[in-house]
Structures are given as structure tokens and as C-alpha cells.
Amino acid sequence: MKVKGLFPTLIAIVSGLIVLIGYLVRLPFLVEMSQTLLSWAVLLTAFAVLLGIFNLLIVHTRRLARKAKGSGYSLILILSMLATLAVGMIIPLFPAASRVLDIIFQTVILPVEASLMALLAVTLTYAGFRLWRHRMNFFTIVFLVTALLVLLGMVALPVLGNVPLISDTVRPILAQVFAAAGARGILIGVALGALLTGLRVLFGVDRPYWE
């Protein structure tokens, strides 16, 4: 490591260690120090949001200037972003303007996100078929049969109502025994992976910041 990079790495390591130890060993002065460091991090994150918005603006302005495919959407994005920002900025002067933000959220963001969620159902069905075609092996069969059984166990059919045996026996066993056991196994792996990644960052082995 270059000497120039030693200082930021040292700051990162010491800050990380204080927060980690303060979290695990609840000594009052360590807790207080780690809370201070975390509140600084929150403050920096808030500034990062402003830079992120600026980045979004640059990316879409360039798309517009290049007349790239779909640049009309970039124009809509820029205009709506600036309009929302303007409304947000005048709230301290005109508190009633917060109602406009509510309306934007309820009538634009919420329905669009809900539509994309609905689209997801179609995408996943298609992905299931694709899986059948492209990656046919034992695990794919287990995956698809399990998904089918759980779906069958959850829906009420028009005449039959709940599907006998599948709704009351097979689905609960699949969900509460096999799926829960598998999920816990995967979560333990993820937790250990996260722990070791955290340690690598903490001790400067992986540096997300450049020296």
C-alpha cells in the first residue's frame, strides 16, 4: 500500500473497529463513540443523495443531447425530477405544498411500482418455462414441482375449494419443514459471508475507497 493511502485506510479501520466493538460490547463510551460515527455516516449519506440526483440529471441530460433511443423518457424524467424538487424546496415556505408531494406519490409512484410488480408475475411465469427449456436437471425439476405444489396448495379452485391433501398436508410440510430448513441454511451462509466480507473491509484487505 502507498503511504498516501495509509491515512484513509487507518481512519476506516479505526472507525470500523469502534463501531463493531461498540455494537458487540455495550461499554457506554464505546456506544457513544459508535453512535457519533454512525450519525456522521448518516449525514454523509444524505449529501450523497444530492450527488446521486446530480448524477441522474447528468446521465439523462447526456442521453437527451445524444438523442439516444428512448431519450423522450429522459426528458420526462428530468422535468418531473425538477418539478418534484421545486415542490419539495418550497415546503418550508408553503407547508400546504406537501399535499402535492403526497398526490405525486399516490398517483404516480405507487401505481407505477404496482404495475411493475404485476409485470413481475408474468416475467416469473416466463422464467419458469425458460428454466424448463434451458436448464433441465434434477434440481430444476425439484424447484418447479415444489413451486407448482405450493401454488396449488395456496389457491382455492372454483368448485373444489382447497385442494385436498395438497393444501392441508403437502404445502405446510414443504413450506414449514423443507423450505424453512433450506432458508435457514442459506441465511447462515449469507451471514457468515457478510461477516467475513465485513472483516475484509475492516482490515483493509478489500478497499471500496481508493488510496
Binding site: 463493531l20 466493538i21 455494537y23 458487540l24 460490547v25 455495550r26 454512525l38 455516516a41 454523509l44 449519506t45 450523497a48 443523495v49 444530492l50 450527488l51 446521486g52 440526483i53 448524477n55 441522474l56 446521465v59 439516444a68 433511443k69 428512448g70 423518457y73 409512484i109 407505477v112 411500482e113 411493475l116 410488480m117 409485470l119 413481475l120 416475467t123 416469473l124 416466463y126 422464467a127 419458469g128 425458460r130 428454466l131 434451458h134 424447484f143 432458508a183 441454511g185 442459506i186 441465511l187 447462515i188 451462509g189 449469507v190 457468515l192 459471508g193 457478510a194 461477516l195 467475513l196 466480507t197 465485513g198 472483516l199 475484509r200 473491509v201 478489500d206 471500496p208 475507497y209 481508493w210
Partner: protein, 248 residues
Amino acid sequence: MTDSVLGLLGFGLTFLAVMVVVGAAFVYRKNLPPLRVIPSFGRLHQAIGRVVEDGSRLHVSLGRGMLITPQSASAFAGLTLLRRLANLTVMSDRPPVTVSGDPALTLLAQDTLWNVAREANLPYDPTAARLGGMTPFSYAAGSIPSILHENVSAVVLIGNFGPEAALLADAAERSQAFCIAGSDNLTAQSILYAAAQEPLIGEELYASGAYIEPTTLHAVSLMAQDVLRWLLIVAMIGGSVLTLIGVL
């Protein structure tokens, strides 16, 4: 169990992890420890080769893992992978493009790409690292155009994703790009198992950097991960047996 006991247990586990890493690093100080074979990373290597050869673009989605939440670990794993992939593709005609759902993560991605370009004495494109959107589906909506319209031939989804990852994997499929995907979120993992060409399960996403450009410390930390997993398995089975016979 009280908070302080849980805290001490956590401290013990962390200390043990550090000790195992230090011990393994000492044993393997002269050569790299063996990594178990994960075929998906082999295919990622091939896809990177194609990106460099045919002048297409690599797309890296880093997810929405905020740096001040527990999901930051997957974001850091993504940044490590981005740094190594950017090093490998820096000489290609088009620089890699990266999209993230957290502004702080976007800044770190920009820093990574800028430094890779600077070290290679190449110009840096400030729009190569972008903020896609800050809600799950706005993030997906912000990332999909890049996958579909920027001559992308390899898509790497790595970090914290929710179900919206399926839309990104579908976009990769539609643009006939290679797609490797891993998330720390359980729902996203099951969705990606069906939707992505090469899904990464469980802790495989944290190992990605070591498989692209292995370093001794990264590789030994993966060994430590395996050792800790076996210890936890033994503890869980032991605990179950002791509970069964009435000792606990």
C-alpha cells in the same frame, strides 16, 4: 439470552473468524489455497473474454444495499467484484457501466471506475457509474434501458436486490446477454434461480471477487467461512442432541 451475552457470543465468533483467517494466511503465505469449483465463475470469465474481444459492454448492477445498513456487505462484495472486472475489461472498446440504487454506493462505484481508468491512462466516462433509482422498481426501470440499448453482452447482478431482480435478468435474456446474478435476499435468490442464466446461491456472491482475481487473504477468508460453517453445524447438531436427551 440477554443482549450482553449475545454481544459476547458475536464478539467471540468475530474473534474466531479473525484467528482462523490469520492462521490460514500463515499456512498459505507462499501459495494460494485451493478454491472449490463454482462453474458459474468459469462461465463469467468466458463472458468477460467475449466482452473484450467483440467490443461490447459489461453491465454491473450493484443493487440497493445502503452502506449504513447490514446489506452493505453485499454492496462491498459487489464493489470488490466491480474493481476486478473493471481491471479485466479496461482495455476493451467500451468501459463497463454500473448502476446502483444507493447514492453512496454510486459514488464508490464512480471512484472505482475512475481509478481503474486513471491507472490505465484512459479517459473516464462520468456517466459510466449511475444511480438507477432509489426504490426497488424505479431502480429496475433505471437499469433496464442500459442492459437493452447499450450493446451489453454480459450482465452481472450482484448485491442487495429484491424481486425486481427478475426484471433485470429478463432484460439480460432479451438482449441475449450472459447473466450471472447473486443477492443476499432470500426471495431474490429463489427468483434468480429461475430467472438468471447463472444464479449464485447463498454465500457465493461474497466469494465472487476471489474467483475473478484471487488474492491470498480473500481466498483464506473463504476457507475461514467454511470452517465457521462446519463449527456452526456441529454446534447446532450438538445442541439438538443435548436438547433431545434433556441436558439443555
